[in-house]
Symmetry: C2
Subunit: 220 residues, 2 copies
């Protein structure tokens, strides 16, 4: 049977998983808003971010309370501190989805994404969505192998990010500077979103194995 303390840790883990669900939904909607120039959807993402921030604050309060009452050491201490960090990563990922939604809102009723970039941006959004869903599964399952997969997903995101710049810098680019700025920023938001998902995976891998992902790869 789990004691009260470990039940509290489980509850924290559930809250992190709930954050990944909200962030995944925010990312899905912000990408659709961006591609379809959908003002209503972008407004939804912007106002829903409050809920993500609220859970982040709740997690922080619970962690401080738990540390003060239980004074965890060693592994348990690392777990609660890591929970704080994953919560901060997920909160930031919510902000990045909001930035994408705001890009859509700023250009409405036009779309910020010219036709020749739609498929690449869609793919970046889908990878971002998969990465945060995977981060949620990794938090829930403590599956190290799945945690390590996030690195490969991030490589796929980086390739798409480079492709974005290739298209922007191609002599065929006819849309001028303003859409190029929007796409440059959106690309950066996707890239950072993926980086934070990788970091969440790394935190779980470290909690389970005591090793950083790089060490595991080097030793395998």
């Amino acid at each position: 049977m789990r004691d009260a303390y470990h039940e509290e840790l489980d509850a924290l883990s559930d809250k992190l998983v709930e954050m990944t669900r909200l962030v995944r939904s925010a990312m899905a909607r912000s990408v659709t808003a961006l591609l379809d120039a959908d003002l209503r959807l972008s407004e939804e993402v912007i106002s829903a971010d409050e809920q993500i921030n609220k859970i982040d604050t709740e997690i922080e309060e619970t962690v401080f309370d738990l540390m003060a009452r239980q004074q965890p050491v060693a592994g348990d201490l690392r777990t609660v501190i890591t929970t704080l960090r994953m919560s901060a990563d997920l909160e930031r990922m919510g902000d990045l989805a909001v930035h994408i939604a705001k890009t859509a809102r700023r250009r409405h009723p036009e779309t910020a994404v010219p036709p020749e970039l739609q498929s690449t941006v869609l793919e970046m959004g889908q990878i971002a969505e998969r990465m945060v869903a995977k981060a949620g599964s990794v938090i829930a399952s403590k599956d190290v192998e799945m945690g390590l997969e996030l690195d490969a997903d991030d490589d796929a995101m980086d390739r798409l990010h480079r492709k974005l710049f290739d298209i922007l810098l191609s002599p065929k680019w006819k849309h001028g500077v303003e859409p190029a700025i929007d796409i440059t920023l959106a690309g950066r938001y996707f890239e950072r979103f993926a980086d934070h998902a990788v970091t969440v995976g790394e935190h779980v891998v470290y909690l389970v194995t005591g090793q950083r992902p790089q060490e595991i790869i080097e030793n395998s």
Copy 2:
């Protein structure tokens, strides 16, 4: 007389201040590298980042060790957790200086900054430098008023950031898409750098007063 525990906390604070010094120097050199297309300076910033990361890791290890041995509660607990967070902010600011240095390196021997943007970029760099220096003073002095000033500095940065876009989007812009992408990203790096400096200030304000800066402003 300070006990051993509070001496350790002071030593952590000194390490944070040392990080602000290294980050300030990185920012100063990366901006010069960017404006002058100075390859040697940009390489310096890129390799010096290791030192910043090393201090971040040392702070993290000391904090975990200290929490395990001393089991701080209440205010002391908040101090050590906040130290971890400020260290993470400063580590990230070092990365952002590296991103600026890499922009300079990528365009070398050309400069990434066209003449009509040089003064704005210089000013953004100077504000960034002042903000991290101020963050260091705030950490050392626990001066709440100075901590709150960082918000106004950030407003100045935001104004310059908007000016950057005005120039990029002006009909007089003759440099096409590639420099616009570089400047868009550099602008984002400056903006995020300033955000992290504000966060460091907020952490100190909260540690000293128990209030978030917004609450202080609302109640004053």
